[in-house]
């Protein structure tokens, strides 16, 4: 007999974020009125965040397989084979809404959640990255949001003991009311000991591990799926507090019991905690689950079944253990000072039963909770194509040097040192390339192999042309990995958009996903995990479409990798790829001219592949001394970055005839890289380019302590450096708000 209080009313249904037809669907599914606890359970399972109801049909179109993919989307994290018996486990996830409400705790719990996803699968985390977007720097909230989010990301990762090695951070007024905090974690596991959520075996104990359950974040998952309104800052007590110390203990304890062979199935408690984790374990294993909530360790008095089922207290796990190993596992957890309780068992009934205080609080068909979740083909409109800008129609700057200074000292292109110095990026002693380069490089075990990783997206491009923007995000990630000499293997994505019930937003989503799919297919760069964050809008104003791509690649020999710093004077600077001077949606146009106009640069994927494969071959063949891909700000910004990283200047040749100088220096044509080489290797490099029909141009030489452009005053590298380093610290030193 199910306890049925309070009574379900249409208001209560609405408060749970269920549409009337969704509620009807649920009622029909169970053939009666649900109990209050059941309503809570279904609202958690069927909200956008957990059910992907608006995005699923489109996500299915993404390429998810390759010979090296061990586990694609659908588990806690994606898994790829990286050779020598090892696998790389990685995923990215958003914590946007909580971070806006409480930046420090929102960010910490975001990092904690993604780390849990990775070690739940049996991997030891080796690195974290993050992709952040904030509102306009002049918005009164921006500064304190940046301070809180960055401190929170550092606060969690530093204490947990994983290096935070890369990411991206950008500012735009469209994020004023909805910041983005996307956290990515990367781990390494043995290919033969990867753990999954799928339970097997009837009558086996289900064990609860980790921290106690409190009333944290009840309805957090529903909040993550609701548009912000003016009152949302009052939904405060729903934020959770992270405890990196407990998570570090949980990591060590989990890895220890996995090593000892105690674990049959494991699932972390993330969004909608106990509900999602228990249902998933059962449903994936074709088993029923019965939970006895009296056994759940709680830290607050008088928690109801509803509260326990929806609590999002952090640092908790659910497991099915081998019965003969239960005592051993318990001893390990006790040693680490963590809670351990048998809270239920598997059954052969395919029912999800929740008991509390002798009453049955829920009795639901377990598979249907997931399988029968609503799925929408939401209407969408194709975005209008924007005109291609003629470079000659874009105003020239007063001087190229001044424009360069403006760009590298701007919020988006300035040095992010202020951010990454708050992250311990060196712990574990494997960080070969630190933040500040194209991709971070993390040594695998004792080397010489290494993983390369990065996060990328250019939201301005995605807004102007979702399809090309989606392609570009993938291509840029692939290019960043290539630029350090890595072979790109797979991506995780974090798709951040506005309200999908608006056809224009849905159009952005569909376009970006198509673009990502097309690029991933062309580049053999499958999507193995990801996350969707919708409803990032406030009072009808949506964020820029921001499909963050987290890429991972492998370096077989660190002795054959590259970094972007110039290495010595007297080397030749080479440009790979064709420069047409594309200024539509460029950083130059946005930052120097103050306009966001025109079509973004198109991405020729075949060319990306061809050019990138050559660059990688040149790096692994040890023919080049430095490599850097071209992205925001184009050629001159890339050259300035190479100079600033080394203190070495360059003497550069004049732009080709027929191209306005500012289009040459700042155009954002895709599929391009800058390389340096000693004169001795030039002939060999040029022969290779010629053989593959790739455009390669000598554009200057490294020299002195200045960047010298024809017809311009020489620009001191040191002066550039000072400008590059100054914007963020100066901004953050401003008044708190």
């Amino acid at each position: 007999m199910i306890r049925n209080e309070p009574k379900i009313t249409p208001e209560l249904v609405a408060q749970h974020g269920l549409k009337p037809d969704e509620y009807e669907r649920f009622r029909n599914l169970i053939g009666r009125e649900p109990s209050f606890t059941e309503l809570g359970i279904v609202s958690a399972m069927w909200n956008e965040h957990c059910s992907y109801k608006s995005s699923k049909v489109h996500l299915r179109t993404l390429p998810v397989s390759a010979p090296w993919v061990i586990q694609g989307p659908g588990e806690n994290a994606g898994v790829i084979d990286i050779g020598e018996g090892l696998a790389c486990v990685f995923k990215m996830e958003s914590h946007n809404h909580p971070s806006f409400i409480e930046p420090y705790q929102g960010a910490t719990t975001g990092v904690g959640g993604i780390l849990r996803d990775v070690f739940t699968m049996g991997a030891r985390p080796v690195a974290c990255l993050n992709a952040l977007r904030f509102g306009d720097p002049s918005h009164p909230k921006t500064r304190s949001l940046v301070a809180g989010v960055v401190a929170g990301i550092g606060g969690y990762g530093n204490s947990f003991g994983v290096p935070t090695v890369g990411g991206s951070i950008g500012f735009h007024s469209r994020y004023d009311g909805n910041i983005l905090v996307n956290a990515m974690a990367v781990g390494i596991a043995k290919t033969d000991s990867i753990f999954y959520a799928k339970a097997s075996g009837v009558g086996l104990p289900i064990v609860y591990l980790g921290s106690k359950t409190g009333r944290d974040g009840i309805h957090g998952a529903t909040m993550a799926s609701a548009e912000f309104d003016e009152n949302s800052e009052e939904k405060r007590p729903t934020v959770q507090v992270g405890d990196p110390f407990s998570e570090k203990l949980l990591l060590e304890a989990c890895l220890e019991i996995m090593r000892k062979g105690c674990v049959i199935a494991i699932q972390d408690m993330g969004a909608a905690g106990l509900t999602c984790s228990a249902v998933e374990m059962g449903a994936k294993g074709d088993l029923g689950v019965t939970l006895d909530l009296n056994k759940v360790p709680t830290r607050e008095e008088g928690m109801s079944a509803y509260e326990m089922m929806l609590s999002e207290s952090q640092e908790r796990m659910l497991m099915v253990l081998k019965p003969e190993k239960e005592k051993e596992a318990e001893a390990i957890f006790r040693k680490w000072g963590l809670d351990f309780a048998v809270v239920g068992h598997t059954t052969d009934t395919l029912r999800f039963i929740v008991q509390h205080g002798g009453d049955e609080m829920a009795n639901l068909p377990i598979k249907e909770l997931g399988d029968e979740a609503p799925e929408y083909k939401r209407p969408f409109t194709e975005p209008k194509k924007l005109p291609v800008l003629d470079p000659a129609s874009v105003p020239a700057p007063s001087s190229i040097g001044d424009a360069l200074k403006k760009l590298i000292g701007s919020p988006d292109l300035c040095s992010k040192r202020w951010v990454w110095e708050q992250y311990d990026h060196l712990i574990l002693n494997n960080t070969v390339q630190r933040p500040g380069g194209d991709a971070a490089v993390i040594r695998i075990e004792n080397g010489p192999r290494a993983l390369a990783m990065c996060t990328d997206v250019t939201p301005r491009y995605c807004e102007a042309d979702p399809f090309e923007g989606g392609k570009q995000a993938v291509a840029e990630s692939w290019r960043n990995l290539t630029a350090v000499g890595a072979r790109p293997l797979a991506v995780t994505d974090n798709l951040n958009f506005g309200n999908p019930e608006r056809p224009e937003i849905m159009g952005q989503f569909v376009g970006c996903v198509r673009g990502i799919g097309e690029a991933c297919r062309a580049l053999d760069f499958p999507v193995v995990s990801g996350n969707v964050s919708l409803y990032n809008e406030t009072q009808g104003r949506a964020i820029l479409p921001t499909p963050t791509i987290g890429g991972v690649g492998i370096i077989e020999d660190l002795g054959k990798s590259a970094s972007l710093a110039f290495k010595a004077e007297g080397e030749t600077i080479l440009l790979i790829g064709e420069t047409k001077g594309w200024l539509g949606q460029s950083s130059y146009l946005a930052t120097v001219i103050g306009k966001e106009e025109g079509a973004p640069p198109p991405v020729d994927l075949a060319l990306e592949k061809k050019n990138g494969d050559l660059v990688r071959a040149l790096i692994t063949g040890k023919l080049v001394t430095a490599a850097h891909d071209l992205s925001d700000g184009g050629l001159l910004v890339a050259l300035a970055e190479m100079a600033m990283a080394s203190g070495i200047g360059a003497k550069l040749d004049a732009p080709p005839a027929g191209l306005p100088a500012h289009a040459y220096w700042f155009g954002e044509d895709q599929a391009r890289y800058v390389l340096t080489a000693t004169p001795a290797n030039l002939a060999a490099i040029e022969a290779r380019a010629k053989a593959t029909g790739i455009i390669l141009t000598r554009i200057g030489a490294t020299k002195g302590k200045e960047l010298t452009l024809p017809g311009e005053h020489p620009i001191l590298v040191q002066a550039l450096h000072a400008l590059h380093e100054s914007w963020l610290p100066a901004y953050m030193a401003g008044p708190a708000g």
Partner: protein
């Protein structure tokens, strides 16, 4: 004027610090401690001359900086 501001966690908000301290006290053999919640105090010297002005200034300070009102409560006490 002197004042003391006390900032404590709201009920129900997880207090990892308090939890760790609780455990440490127990293992140090300090008997009888059931639970610990940690908070902050700020001892403030003010140049304002009257109590209401001091209270107003400190309330403002709490809302703007000293307390994270999402998860914390605060209390202002002007000592004199």
């Amino acid at each position: 004027m002197k004042a003391r501001v006390t900032v404590t966690l709201k009920n129900g908000v997880l207090d990892p610090q308090g939890k760790a301290i609780e455990g440490a006290l127990r293992s140090l053999g300090v008997a009888g401690v059931e639970s610990v919640r940690q908070g902050k105090v700020f001892d403030v010297e003010l140049s304002v001359k009257d109590k209401p002005a001091a209270e107003a200034a400190l309330k403002n300070a709490c809302e703007k900086l000293l307390a994270n009102t999402v998860i914390e409560n605060y209390r202002v006490e002007v000592i004199g």
